[in-house]
Amino acid sequence: MSEKIWSERQTATWKTKVGLAEMLKGGVIMDVTTAEQASIAEEAGAAAVMALERVPADIRAHGGVARMSDPKIIKEIQSAVSIPVMAKCRIGHFVEAQILEALEIDFIDESEVLTPADDHFHVNKQQFKTPFVCGCRDLGEALRRIGEGAAMIRTKGEAGTGNIIEAVRHMRSVLDGIRRLSSAPEEELMTEAKNLGAPFELVVEVARAGKLPVPNFSAGGVATPADAALMRQLGAESVFVGSGVFKSANPRKRAKAIVEAVTYYNDAAKLAEISMDLGEPMTGIEMSEIDGEQRMAVRGW
Protein backbone atom coordinates (compact mmCIF):
# COMPACT_ATOMS: atom_id res chain seq x y z
CA MET A 1 0.00 0.00 0.00
CA SER A 2 1.36 3.42 -0.96
CA GLU A 3 1.79 6.33 1.46
CA LYS A 4 -0.71 8.38 -0.48
CA ILE A 5 -3.50 5.89 -0.18
CA TRP A 6 -2.87 5.51 3.54
CA SER A 7 -3.10 9.22 4.24
CA GLU A 8 -6.15 9.47 1.99
CA ARG A 9 -8.00 6.87 3.98
CA GLN A 10 -7.11 8.56 7.29
CA THR A 11 -9.42 11.38 6.40
CA ALA A 12 -12.92 10.43 7.30
CA THR A 13 -14.93 12.60 4.95
CA TRP A 14 -18.36 14.09 5.60
CA LYS A 15 -19.80 11.37 3.37
CA THR A 16 -18.40 8.54 5.47
CA LYS A 17 -19.44 10.28 8.71
CA VAL A 18 -23.05 10.80 7.65
CA GLY A 19 -22.85 7.47 5.85
CA LEU A 20 -22.35 5.59 9.12
CA ALA A 21 -25.38 7.40 10.54
CA GLU A 22 -27.33 6.22 7.47
CA MET A 23 -26.29 2.62 8.19
CA LEU A 24 -27.77 2.87 11.69
CA LYS A 25 -31.23 3.85 10.43
CA GLY A 26 -34.12 1.62 11.35
CA GLY A 27 -32.00 0.27 14.20
CA VAL A 28 -31.64 0.59 17.95
CA ILE A 29 -28.62 1.97 19.78
CA MET A 30 -28.47 0.57 23.30
CA ASP A 31 -26.70 1.86 26.40
CA VAL A 32 -24.48 -0.82 27.95
CA THR A 33 -22.13 -0.72 30.93
CA THR A 34 -20.33 -4.08 30.64
CA ALA A 35 -19.05 -6.44 27.96
CA GLU A 36 -21.76 -8.89 28.99
CA GLN A 37 -24.53 -6.32 28.47
CA ALA A 38 -22.97 -5.40 25.12
CA SER A 39 -23.20 -9.04 24.02
CA ILE A 40 -26.83 -9.22 25.15
CA ALA A 41 -27.57 -6.08 23.11
CA GLU A 42 -25.82 -7.46 20.02
CA GLU A 43 -27.58 -10.80 20.43
CA ALA A 44 -30.92 -8.96 20.59
CA GLY A 45 -30.15 -7.23 17.28
CA ALA A 46 -28.93 -3.78 18.36
CA ALA A 47 -27.40 -1.81 15.47
CA ALA A 48 -24.84 -0.23 17.83
CA VAL A 49 -24.06 0.08 21.54
CA MET A 50 -23.24 3.10 23.69
CA ALA A 51 -20.47 2.27 26.16
CA LEU A 52 -21.12 3.87 29.56
CA GLU A 53 -20.07 3.50 33.18
CA ARG A 54 -23.63 4.07 34.36
CA VAL A 55 -26.94 4.21 32.51
CA PRO A 56 -28.70 7.60 32.82
CA ALA A 57 -31.13 6.36 35.51
CA ASP A 58 -28.15 5.52 37.72
CA ILE A 59 -26.37 8.79 36.87
CA ARG A 60 -29.53 10.53 38.07
CA ALA A 61 -29.68 8.46 41.27
CA HIS A 62 -25.95 8.65 41.94
CA GLY A 63 -25.60 12.45 41.61
CA GLY A 64 -22.22 14.17 41.50
CA VAL A 65 -20.25 14.86 38.32
CA ALA A 66 -20.80 12.41 35.46
CA ARG A 67 -17.78 12.04 33.15
CA MET A 68 -16.52 10.08 30.15
CA SER A 69 -16.33 6.33 30.83
CA ASP A 70 -13.14 4.58 31.92
CA PRO A 71 -11.29 3.61 28.69
CA LYS A 72 -10.88 0.11 30.16
CA ILE A 73 -14.66 -0.41 30.10
CA ILE A 74 -14.83 1.00 26.57
CA LYS A 75 -12.08 -1.35 25.35
CA GLU A 76 -13.77 -4.36 26.93
CA ILE A 77 -17.01 -3.49 25.20
CA GLN A 78 -15.23 -2.92 21.87
CA SER A 79 -13.69 -6.36 22.01
CA ALA A 80 -16.96 -8.02 23.00
CA VAL A 81 -19.01 -6.99 19.93
CA SER A 82 -18.69 -6.57 16.16
CA ILE A 83 -21.32 -3.79 15.85
CA PRO A 84 -20.33 -0.09 16.13
CA VAL A 85 -19.44 1.18 19.61
CA MET A 86 -20.31 4.73 20.64
CA ALA A 87 -19.30 6.60 23.78
CA LYS A 88 -20.14 9.90 25.43
CA CYS A 89 -18.03 12.94 26.20
CA ARG A 90 -19.12 15.93 28.26
CA ILE A 91 -20.46 18.99 26.43
CA GLY A 92 -17.46 21.12 25.45
CA HIS A 93 -14.90 18.61 26.75
CA PHE A 94 -12.80 18.31 23.62
CA VAL A 95 -10.05 16.37 25.39
CA GLU A 96 -12.47 13.61 26.36
CA ALA A 97 -13.45 13.62 22.66
CA GLN A 98 -9.78 13.35 21.65
CA ILE A 99 -9.37 10.38 23.99
CA LEU A 100 -12.45 8.68 22.56
CA GLU A 101 -11.09 9.22 19.06
CA ALA A 102 -7.76 7.69 20.13
CA LEU A 103 -9.74 4.68 21.37
CA GLU A 104 -11.22 4.41 17.84
CA ILE A 105 -14.77 4.86 19.03
CA ASP A 106 -17.13 4.71 16.02
CA PHE A 107 -19.38 7.62 17.06
CA ILE A 108 -18.92 10.21 19.83
CA ASP A 109 -22.02 11.44 21.63
CA GLU A 110 -21.40 14.94 23.03
CA SER A 111 -24.06 14.38 25.60
CA GLU A 112 -26.19 16.32 28.05
CA VAL A 113 -26.44 13.12 30.10
CA LEU A 114 -22.94 13.83 31.41
CA THR A 115 -22.16 16.96 33.43
CA PRO A 116 -21.22 19.77 31.01
CA ALA A 117 -17.57 20.85 31.01
CA ASP A 118 -18.31 24.18 29.31
CA ASP A 119 -21.40 26.29 29.85
CA HIS A 120 -20.95 28.37 26.68
CA PHE A 121 -19.34 26.33 23.95
CA HIS A 122 -19.64 22.89 22.42
CA VAL A 123 -16.81 20.84 20.91
CA ASN A 124 -15.69 21.91 17.42
CA LYS A 125 -16.67 18.64 15.83
CA GLN A 126 -15.33 19.54 12.38
CA GLN A 127 -11.81 18.95 13.70
CA PHE A 128 -12.41 15.27 14.39
CA LYS A 129 -12.26 12.29 12.06
CA THR A 130 -14.75 10.49 14.25
CA PRO A 131 -18.39 11.40 13.61
CA PHE A 132 -20.42 13.04 16.40
CA VAL A 133 -24.03 12.79 17.45
CA CYS A 134 -25.57 15.57 19.55
CA GLY A 135 -28.88 16.09 21.30
CA CYS A 136 -31.39 18.83 20.57
CA ARG A 137 -34.74 20.09 21.78
CA ASP A 138 -35.67 22.15 18.76
CA LEU A 139 -34.58 22.96 15.22
CA GLY A 140 -32.29 25.83 16.20
CA GLU A 141 -30.30 23.63 18.56
CA ALA A 142 -30.13 20.87 15.93
CA LEU A 143 -28.77 23.25 13.29
CA ARG A 144 -26.21 24.78 15.68
CA ARG A 145 -24.85 21.30 16.38
CA ILE A 146 -24.80 20.39 12.67
CA GLY A 147 -23.02 23.69 12.04
CA GLU A 148 -20.38 22.61 14.55
CA GLY A 149 -19.98 19.35 12.63
CA ALA A 150 -22.42 16.81 14.11
CA ALA A 151 -23.14 14.03 11.57
CA MET A 152 -26.24 12.82 13.38
CA ILE A 153 -28.87 14.51 15.53
CA ARG A 154 -30.95 12.93 18.23
CA THR A 155 -33.76 14.62 20.04
CA LYS A 156 -32.90 14.67 23.76
CA GLY A 157 -35.99 13.62 25.59
CA GLU A 158 -35.27 13.36 29.30
CA ALA A 159 -32.75 10.57 29.83
CA GLY A 160 -33.11 8.09 32.66
CA THR A 161 -36.80 8.77 33.29
CA GLY A 162 -38.52 6.02 31.31
CA ASN A 163 -41.00 8.77 30.45
CA ILE A 164 -41.50 9.44 26.74
CA ILE A 165 -43.19 12.85 27.02
CA GLU A 166 -40.05 14.96 26.55
CA ALA A 167 -38.87 12.87 23.58
CA VAL A 168 -42.23 13.45 21.92
CA ARG A 169 -42.12 17.18 22.70
CA HIS A 170 -38.63 17.56 21.21
CA MET A 171 -39.36 15.53 18.09
CA ARG A 172 -42.55 17.50 17.43
CA SER A 173 -40.68 20.74 18.00
CA VAL A 174 -37.93 19.86 15.49
CA LEU A 175 -40.39 18.69 12.85
CA ASP A 176 -42.60 21.69 13.43
CA GLY A 177 -39.59 23.95 12.88
CA ILE A 178 -38.80 22.15 9.61
CA ARG A 179 -42.38 22.46 8.36
CA ARG A 180 -42.35 26.15 9.22
CA LEU A 181 -39.17 26.75 7.20
CA SER A 182 -40.44 24.71 4.26
CA SER A 183 -43.42 26.99 3.81
CA ALA A 184 -41.63 30.28 4.55
CA PRO A 185 -40.93 32.61 1.62
CA GLU A 186 -37.23 33.08 0.84
CA GLU A 187 -37.09 36.66 2.20
CA GLU A 188 -38.10 35.47 5.68
CA LEU A 189 -35.28 32.96 6.07
CA MET A 190 -32.67 35.37 7.45
CA THR A 191 -35.00 36.44 10.25
CA GLU A 192 -35.93 32.80 10.82
CA ALA A 193 -32.20 32.07 11.17
CA LYS A 194 -31.85 34.92 13.65
CA ASN A 195 -34.82 33.72 15.69
CA LEU A 196 -33.66 30.10 15.64
CA GLY A 197 -30.09 31.07 16.48
CA ALA A 198 -29.06 28.85 13.58
CA PRO A 199 -26.59 29.22 10.69
CA PHE A 200 -28.30 30.90 7.71
CA GLU A 201 -26.88 28.45 5.17
CA LEU A 202 -28.36 25.50 7.05
CA VAL A 203 -31.70 27.27 7.42
CA VAL A 204 -31.81 27.73 3.64
CA GLU A 205 -30.86 24.08 3.08
CA VAL A 206 -33.58 22.80 5.43
CA ALA A 207 -36.15 25.13 3.87
CA ARG A 208 -35.37 23.71 0.42
CA ALA A 209 -34.95 20.03 1.36
CA GLY A 210 -37.74 19.85 3.93
CA LYS A 211 -35.54 17.76 6.21
CA LEU A 212 -32.34 17.90 8.24
CA PRO A 213 -29.11 17.36 6.26
CA VAL A 214 -28.19 14.49 8.64
CA PRO A 215 -30.19 11.56 10.05
CA ASN A 216 -32.55 12.43 12.87
CA PHE A 217 -32.80 9.88 15.67
CA SER A 218 -34.64 9.92 19.00
CA ALA A 219 -33.45 9.43 22.58
CA GLY A 220 -34.42 9.90 26.19
CA GLY A 221 -37.31 8.05 27.81
CA VAL A 222 -37.95 5.00 25.61
CA ALA A 223 -39.04 2.14 27.89
CA THR A 224 -41.34 -0.05 25.77
CA PRO A 225 -41.64 -1.30 22.18
CA ALA A 226 -44.66 1.01 21.82
CA ASP A 227 -42.52 4.00 22.88
CA ALA A 228 -39.96 3.10 20.21
CA ALA A 229 -42.64 2.69 17.54
CA LEU A 230 -44.23 5.98 18.60
CA MET A 231 -40.97 7.83 18.00
CA ARG A 232 -40.56 6.12 14.61
CA GLN A 233 -44.09 7.05 13.57
CA LEU A 234 -43.48 10.63 14.67
CA GLY A 235 -40.47 10.76 12.33
CA ALA A 236 -37.41 9.44 14.17
CA GLU A 237 -35.22 7.35 11.85
CA SER A 238 -33.77 5.28 14.70
CA VAL A 239 -34.03 5.06 18.46
CA PHE A 240 -31.52 5.27 21.30
CA VAL A 241 -32.50 3.26 24.36
CA GLY A 242 -30.70 4.13 27.55
CA SER A 243 -31.91 2.81 30.87
CA GLY A 244 -35.03 1.24 29.33
CA VAL A 245 -33.40 -2.12 28.57
CA PHE A 246 -31.09 -2.92 31.46
CA LYS A 247 -33.29 -1.33 34.14
CA SER A 248 -36.17 -3.59 33.15
CA ALA A 249 -37.00 -7.02 34.58
CA ASN A 250 -36.00 -8.97 31.46
CA PRO A 251 -33.36 -7.11 29.41
CA ARG A 252 -32.88 -9.88 26.78
CA LYS A 253 -36.55 -10.07 25.92
CA ARG A 254 -37.15 -6.34 26.08
CA ALA A 255 -34.09 -5.51 23.96
CA LYS A 256 -35.19 -7.90 21.21
CA ALA A 257 -38.76 -6.56 21.37
CA ILE A 258 -37.62 -2.95 20.97
CA VAL A 259 -35.42 -3.89 17.99
CA GLU A 260 -38.40 -5.56 16.31
CA ALA A 261 -40.72 -2.66 17.15
CA VAL A 262 -38.37 -0.21 15.42
CA THR A 263 -38.55 -2.28 12.21
CA TYR A 264 -42.29 -3.05 12.33
CA TYR A 265 -43.30 0.33 13.79
CA ASN A 266 -46.21 0.69 11.38
CA ASP A 267 -47.77 -2.72 11.97
CA ALA A 268 -50.03 -2.61 15.04
CA ALA A 269 -50.79 -6.35 14.96
CA LYS A 270 -47.09 -7.19 15.02
CA LEU A 271 -46.50 -4.58 17.74
CA ALA A 272 -49.15 -6.26 19.88
CA GLU A 273 -47.35 -9.58 19.51
CA ILE A 274 -43.96 -7.99 20.16
CA SER A 275 -45.22 -6.23 23.33
CA MET A 276 -46.53 -9.40 24.94
CA ASP A 277 -45.17 -10.77 28.19
CA LEU A 278 -41.97 -8.73 28.49
CA GLY A 279 -41.94 -8.48 32.29
CA GLU A 280 -41.80 -5.20 34.20
CA PRO A 281 -40.48 -2.16 32.34
CA MET A 282 -38.18 0.24 34.17
CA THR A 283 -39.88 2.36 36.82
CA GLY A 284 -40.61 5.75 35.31
CA ILE A 285 -40.33 9.23 36.78
CA GLU A 286 -43.02 11.89 36.39
CA MET A 287 -41.53 15.12 34.99
CA SER A 288 -42.93 17.25 37.85
CA GLU A 289 -40.79 15.20 40.25
CA ILE A 290 -37.60 16.48 38.60
CA ASP A 291 -36.38 19.92 39.64
CA GLY A 292 -35.27 22.30 36.91
CA GLU A 293 -31.64 21.85 37.96
CA GLN A 294 -31.86 18.08 37.58
CA ARG A 295 -33.19 18.22 34.03
CA MET A 296 -30.56 16.99 31.60
CA ALA A 297 -32.28 18.29 28.47
CA VAL A 298 -31.67 21.95 29.33
CA ARG A 299 -27.91 21.40 29.01
CA GLY A 300 -26.78 22.60 25.58
CA TRP A 301 -26.23 26.10 24.25
Partner: protein, 189 residues
Protein backbone atom coordinates in the same frame (compact mmCIF):
# COMPACT_ATOMS: atom_id res chain seq x y z
CA UNK B 1 -42.75 -2.90 -15.23
CA UNK B 2 -40.43 -4.63 -12.80
CA UNK B 3 -40.70 -3.99 -9.09
CA UNK B 4 -37.36 -3.84 -7.31
CA UNK B 5 -37.50 -4.61 -3.62
CA UNK B 6 -35.20 -2.97 -1.10
CA UNK B 7 -34.90 -4.98 2.09
CA UNK B 8 -36.22 -2.47 4.64
CA UNK B 9 -35.53 -4.20 7.96
CA UNK B 10 -32.57 -2.05 9.04
CA UNK B 11 -29.83 0.04 7.42
CA UNK B 12 -29.60 2.61 4.62
CA UNK B 13 -32.56 1.24 2.66
CA UNK B 14 -33.90 4.78 2.13
CA UNK B 15 -30.79 5.72 0.11
CA UNK B 16 -31.18 2.69 -2.18
CA UNK B 17 -34.88 3.40 -2.55
CA UNK B 18 -34.13 7.02 -3.51
CA UNK B 19 -31.47 5.91 -6.02
CA UNK B 20 -33.79 3.38 -7.69
CA UNK B 21 -36.64 5.88 -7.83
CA UNK B 22 -34.30 8.42 -9.41
CA UNK B 23 -33.43 5.82 -12.08
CA UNK B 24 -37.14 5.58 -12.86
CA UNK B 25 -37.91 2.10 -11.55
CA UNK B 26 -40.66 1.04 -9.22
CA UNK B 27 -39.01 0.43 -5.85
CA UNK B 28 -40.63 -1.04 -2.76
CA UNK B 29 -39.38 -1.48 0.81
CA UNK B 30 -39.62 -5.18 1.67
CA UNK B 31 -40.38 -6.24 5.26
CA UNK B 32 -42.64 -9.30 4.87
CA UNK B 33 -42.28 -12.80 3.32
CA UNK B 34 -45.27 -12.10 1.02
CA UNK B 35 -43.38 -9.23 -0.59
CA UNK B 36 -40.41 -11.50 -1.31
CA UNK B 37 -42.78 -13.57 -3.46
CA UNK B 38 -43.86 -10.72 -5.73
CA UNK B 39 -40.72 -8.66 -6.43
CA UNK B 40 -38.54 -9.02 -9.53
CA UNK B 41 -35.20 -8.19 -7.91
CA UNK B 42 -33.91 -7.28 -4.47
CA UNK B 43 -31.35 -4.87 -3.03
CA UNK B 44 -29.96 -5.69 0.41
CA UNK B 45 -28.64 -2.43 1.89
CA UNK B 46 -25.78 -1.57 4.19
CA UNK B 47 -26.42 -1.59 7.90
CA UNK B 48 -25.61 -4.15 10.55
CA UNK B 49 -25.48 -7.62 9.03
CA UNK B 50 -26.15 -9.33 12.39
CA UNK B 51 -29.26 -7.21 12.98
CA UNK B 52 -30.62 -7.69 9.45
CA UNK B 53 -29.91 -11.45 9.53
CA UNK B 54 -31.77 -11.91 12.82
CA UNK B 55 -34.80 -9.96 11.63
CA UNK B 56 -34.84 -11.91 8.32
CA UNK B 57 -34.83 -15.22 10.14
CA UNK B 58 -37.20 -14.09 12.92
CA UNK B 59 -39.84 -12.80 10.51
CA UNK B 60 -39.66 -15.62 7.98
CA UNK B 61 -37.95 -13.80 5.10
CA UNK B 62 -34.80 -15.89 4.94
CA UNK B 63 -36.13 -19.15 3.46
CA UNK B 64 -38.42 -17.53 0.84
CA UNK B 65 -35.51 -15.36 -0.28
CA UNK B 66 -33.19 -18.36 -0.58
CA UNK B 67 -35.84 -20.05 -2.69
CA UNK B 68 -36.23 -17.01 -4.96
CA UNK B 69 -32.44 -16.81 -5.40
CA UNK B 70 -32.33 -20.51 -6.28
CA UNK B 71 -35.05 -19.73 -8.85
CA UNK B 72 -32.84 -17.08 -10.47
CA UNK B 73 -33.95 -13.77 -8.92
CA UNK B 74 -31.33 -11.02 -9.15
CA UNK B 75 -30.01 -9.66 -5.84
CA UNK B 76 -27.60 -6.79 -5.15
CA UNK B 77 -25.97 -6.59 -1.71
CA UNK B 78 -23.93 -3.61 -0.51
CA UNK B 79 -21.61 -3.91 2.51
CA UNK B 80 -23.82 -5.66 5.11
CA UNK B 81 -25.86 -6.96 2.17
CA UNK B 82 -22.71 -8.51 0.73
CA UNK B 83 -21.88 -10.12 4.07
CA UNK B 84 -25.37 -11.66 4.16
CA UNK B 85 -24.90 -13.04 0.63
CA UNK B 86 -21.47 -14.54 1.40
CA UNK B 87 -21.15 -18.27 1.99
CA UNK B 88 -18.17 -17.86 4.34
CA UNK B 89 -17.75 -15.14 6.99
CA UNK B 90 -14.43 -15.23 8.86
CA UNK B 91 -14.80 -15.95 12.56
CA UNK B 92 -18.59 -15.69 12.54
CA UNK B 93 -21.51 -18.09 12.73
CA UNK B 94 -24.10 -15.34 12.15
CA UNK B 95 -27.27 -15.92 10.15
CA UNK B 96 -26.74 -15.50 6.40
CA UNK B 97 -28.25 -16.18 2.98
CA UNK B 98 -24.95 -17.77 1.93
CA UNK B 99 -25.73 -17.88 -1.78
CA UNK B 100 -22.47 -16.45 -3.11
CA UNK B 101 -19.24 -18.37 -3.28
CA UNK B 102 -17.14 -15.72 -1.56
CA UNK B 103 -15.38 -15.43 1.79
CA UNK B 104 -15.52 -12.09 3.61
CA UNK B 105 -13.85 -10.58 6.64
CA UNK B 106 -16.20 -8.17 8.43
CA UNK B 107 -14.99 -4.66 9.27
CA UNK B 108 -11.58 -5.68 7.92
CA UNK B 109 -10.75 -2.15 6.78
CA UNK B 110 -11.00 -1.13 10.45
CA UNK B 111 -13.36 0.81 12.68
CA UNK B 112 -15.12 4.01 11.62
CA UNK B 113 -11.94 6.12 11.87
CA UNK B 114 -10.54 4.09 8.94
CA UNK B 115 -13.62 4.60 6.76
CA UNK B 116 -12.59 6.20 3.47
CA UNK B 117 -13.43 7.12 -0.10
CA UNK B 118 -11.51 6.02 -3.18
CA UNK B 119 -11.93 5.87 -6.96
CA UNK B 120 -12.69 2.32 -8.05
CA UNK B 121 -12.10 1.24 -11.66
CA UNK B 122 -15.07 -0.91 -12.66
CA UNK B 123 -14.97 -3.28 -15.64
CA UNK B 124 -18.28 -2.26 -17.24
CA UNK B 125 -17.96 1.55 -17.05
CA UNK B 126 -15.36 3.89 -18.50
CA UNK B 127 -14.84 6.41 -15.68
CA UNK B 128 -14.13 4.95 -12.22
CA UNK B 129 -16.88 4.87 -9.60
CA UNK B 130 -16.44 6.74 -6.31
CA UNK B 131 -16.29 4.08 -3.61
CA UNK B 132 -17.52 5.08 -0.14
CA UNK B 133 -16.23 2.45 2.30
CA UNK B 134 -17.78 2.50 5.81
CA UNK B 135 -16.47 -0.04 8.30
CA UNK B 136 -16.28 -2.10 5.17
CA UNK B 137 -15.84 -5.86 4.77
CA UNK B 138 -12.98 -7.28 2.70
CA UNK B 139 -13.55 -10.10 0.22
CA UNK B 140 -10.79 -12.55 1.12
CA UNK B 141 -11.60 -15.32 -1.35
CA UNK B 142 -13.75 -15.85 -4.43
CA UNK B 143 -14.93 -19.12 -5.93
CA UNK B 144 -14.48 -20.14 -9.55
CA UNK B 145 -17.90 -18.94 -10.67
CA UNK B 146 -17.38 -15.47 -9.25
CA UNK B 147 -16.17 -12.69 -11.53
CA UNK B 148 -14.40 -9.65 -10.13
CA UNK B 149 -15.78 -6.41 -11.60
CA UNK B 150 -13.92 -3.93 -9.41
CA UNK B 151 -10.80 -3.97 -7.23
CA UNK B 152 -9.15 -1.75 -4.64
CA UNK B 153 -5.54 -2.31 -3.56
CA UNK B 154 -5.52 -5.69 -5.22
CA UNK B 155 -8.65 -6.93 -3.45
CA UNK B 156 -12.04 -7.48 -5.08
CA UNK B 157 -14.65 -4.92 -3.96
CA UNK B 158 -17.34 -5.51 -6.61
CA UNK B 159 -18.16 -9.10 -7.60
CA UNK B 160 -20.78 -11.00 -9.55
CA UNK B 161 -21.91 -14.60 -9.59
CA UNK B 162 -24.77 -15.30 -12.01
CA UNK B 163 -27.66 -13.09 -10.91
CA UNK B 164 -25.96 -12.00 -7.69
CA UNK B 165 -24.01 -8.75 -7.39
CA UNK B 166 -22.15 -7.57 -4.29
CA UNK B 167 -20.02 -4.59 -3.30
CA UNK B 168 -17.92 -3.72 -0.24
CA UNK B 169 -18.75 -0.06 -0.81
CA UNK B 170 -21.89 2.08 -1.04
CA UNK B 171 -22.81 3.38 -4.51
CA UNK B 172 -26.16 4.45 -3.01
CA UNK B 173 -24.39 7.15 -0.98
CA UNK B 174 -23.21 8.88 -4.17
CA UNK B 175 -25.06 10.55 -7.05
CA UNK B 176 -23.65 7.96 -9.45
CA UNK B 177 -26.32 5.48 -10.59
CA UNK B 178 -24.19 3.40 -12.97
CA UNK B 179 -23.75 0.37 -10.71
CA UNK B 180 -27.46 0.31 -9.91
CA UNK B 181 -28.18 0.55 -13.65
CA UNK B 182 -25.95 -2.46 -14.24
CA UNK B 183 -27.93 -4.35 -11.59
CA UNK B 184 -31.24 -3.35 -13.20
CA UNK B 185 -29.98 -4.79 -16.51
CA UNK B 186 -29.29 -8.06 -14.64
CA UNK B 187 -32.92 -8.08 -13.45
CA UNK B 188 -34.25 -7.60 -16.97
CA UNK B 189 -32.22 -10.32 -18.63
Amino acid sequence: MNTIGVLGLQGDFAKHHAMLSRLGVKAELVVTPEQIGRIDGLVIPGGESTTIGKLMAGYGLLEPLKARIAGGMAVFGTCAGMILLARRIQGSVQIRIGAMDIEVNRNAYGRQISSFEADIPVSFIREPARGVFIRAPIITDTGREVSVLGEFEGRPVLVRQGKLLASSFHPELTEDGRIHEYFLAMVDR
